[in-house]
Amino acid sequence: MNNDKVITAHQLTKQFDNFIAVDHISFEVSRGEIFGFLGANGAGKTTAMRMLCGLSLPSSGEATVAGLNVYTHNEEIKKRIGYMSQKFSLYEDLTVKENIRFYAGIYGMSNNYIKTKTTQLLEQLHLTNESNSLVKSLPLGWKQKLAFSVAIFHEPQIVFLDEPTGGVDPVTRREFWNMIYQAAAAGITVFVTTHYMDEAEYCNRISIMVDGKIEALDTPTALKQQYHATSMDEVFLQLARKANRQE
């Protein structure tokens, strides 16, 4: 197997009773790639992502994450991945520092290392003065950046972002994507789901899921050519209109 492929899925399927949420999807993601995972609500992208994160076992098919099998090594996988959801998932009643310390602690990082790295991180984020403020007092954009930094604090190989920019203004979204590019440049693979088609353009490659299947998978430029479209929005609408499944 190619070592450069950090995520591979082959005929991956998840079936709930009579409902096939994810229908034989296959794809590969390379190291340091920003991989956009698109689809309308109910297309199955969250279910697919949960299988890759070890939160749910596939019904059939093969998948590896960081070179590890999702059936047999899901606990090992958890140490090598980071995860951020659209809820940002920080504790509002804890300070910035306490949040970092908690999340680093559950990844089993040593106290000294946590301390040094926290100081560095707070400087980078220009949050040093806010390190002892409660998270609930921070503006939304800061919370989002902090949540992303916390998700990659333990230096994972892959970070999964589930609609990470929901409810954030365009300027902050742009800044957030700069952070994603930095992480990717540092060798972290980024697997991101999004609703925003302008964000899809920022990805190296994107896949579009319709009714549990991957209908298209390529670079944004190639997809636009293939569907004779001027923007990703058009590509997405052409594909999403084929869907039979209701939300």
Binding site: C53, G54, L55, S56, L57, E75, K78, K79, I81, Y83, M84, S85, K87, F88, S89, L90, Y91, E92, D93, L94, E98, R101, F102, Y103, A104, G105, I106, Y107, G108, S110, L134, F160
Partner: protein, 367 residues
């Protein structure tokens, strides 16, 4: 281990930062003990009563004095006509009225039979009953004084109230309050905090992390276990030093059994959190599903023996019932494990059952 420490530290921050809830959790048992101890009491003392004495003779005076002299009754009014009785009841100045007919002494001495009437305010039936019993007892002892020589055959009943000779209500409600407080702190708070993590999305992050679910459960349980132990200590200190309820049995056994009950409550909280979708739902289920049955069916407020058969059967699945029996036996009667092993086994069984159900539900949700 370090993961667990991080988790517990975070839980302690949550508890510490939410000062209101913390004060309620720590203050509630103290307030409850004080309310039950001083305000809510079944004991009847210094009952105000009125006399309507048509006889006004030696015997009637002695009877009235005997009642007045006891700690249970105080004469507050001497009435002249029957109408005044109802007036006194209506304005609430008396709880009992004693009517002594004319020629009371004469009838008593010559026909050996006399009547008096005891009228009570039965709008509170329990108090009325107690008043009648006290009156009967005092009249009875006055009667015995009158008898110069005893009847040829008399059965003298000597009463002894075991374990609680002064019939203090505290002996009953201290165990009850312990059961209620532990259930509330452990079941409701664990359920709410776990559901809260689901709501704000942090549970998902933890499940994606290498932190095992078992550690999440233990990390949630330990802080509330600690809070509960503080509560047990404050309840016991208040009971012993303020309400003067003794701990007759082994303190170690009492604490051990309390920890067993805490574990049952924690497992229940976990089970609720696994099925409840929102914090409100978790709170509602805890209050209606746990708290009410505990008050109604544990035997703390209402004796289980007096309930209809179906309710008696239902009461068996209320964990607090068994804990209440254990605490009463160990604390008040001073018995050892040999007397409460059956209840202990039942609680242990409940703990294992709820825990395995909760773990199964947890797993189903993850699949």
């Amino acid at each position: 281990m370090q993961q667990l420490i991080s988790f517990i530290r975070k839980e302690l921050y949550h508890i510490w930062r939410d000062k209101k809830t913390m004060f309620i959790l720590l203050g509630m048992p103290i307030v409850q003990i004080i309310i039950f101890g001083f305000a809510l009491t079944n004991e009847v003392k210094n009952v105000k009563f009125a006399v309507l004495d048509y006889a006004k003779d030696n015997a009637s005076q002695r009877l009235i004095t005997a009642l007045d002299a006891s700690e249970y009754f105080d004469v507050t009014a001497v009435l002249q006509q029957p109408k005044a009785i109802e007036q006194a009841f209506k304005n609430g100045s008396i709880k009992m009225a004693l009517v002594i007919p004319q020629a009371f002494e004469q009838e008593l001495l010559h026909t050996n039979k006399a009547q008096i009437q005891c009228i009570t305010d039965a709008s509170d039936p329990n108090v009325a009953n107690t008043i009648i019993n006290y009156t009967n007892a005092i009249v009875g002892s006055y009667q015995q004084e009158l008898q110069q020589q005893p009847l040829p055959y008399t059965i003298e009943v000597t009463n002894r109230m075991l374990y609680n000779p002064q019939l203090k209500g505290a002996y009953n409600f201290v165990p009850g309050v312990m059961a209620m407080v532990l259930l509330l702190v452990c079941t409701m708070m664990t359920a709410i905090t776990i559901v809260k993590e689901k709501e704000i999305g942090t549970m998902e992050i933890m499940l994606v992390s290498p932190l095992q679910p078992l550690k999440i459960v233990i990390g949630k349980a330990i802080p509330y276990l600690a809070l509960s132990i503080i509560n047990i200590i404050s309840i016991l200190l208040l009971s012993v030093f303020v309400l003067e309820v003794p701990i007759n049995g082994s303190l170690a056994l009492l604490v051990g059994e309390s920890i067993l009950f805490i574990l049952v409550s924690l497992a229940l909280g976990l089970l609720i959190s696994a099925s409840a979708a929102s914090q409100q739902a978790a709170m509602f289920v805890s209050l209606v599903g746990m708290f009410l049955p505990t008050i109604m069916l544990s035997g703390f407020m209402f004796p289980i023996e007096n309930m209809p058969k179906p309710l008696q059967i239902v009461s068996n699945i209320v964990p607090a019932k068994w804990y209440f029996i254990i605490v009463k036996n160990v604390m008040i009667k001073g018995v050892g494990i040999e007397a409460v092993w059956k209840e202990t086994i039942i609680l242990t069984g409940m703990f294992l059952f709820f825990l395995s159900m909760a773990i199964r539900k947890f797993k189903i949700r993850l699949a």
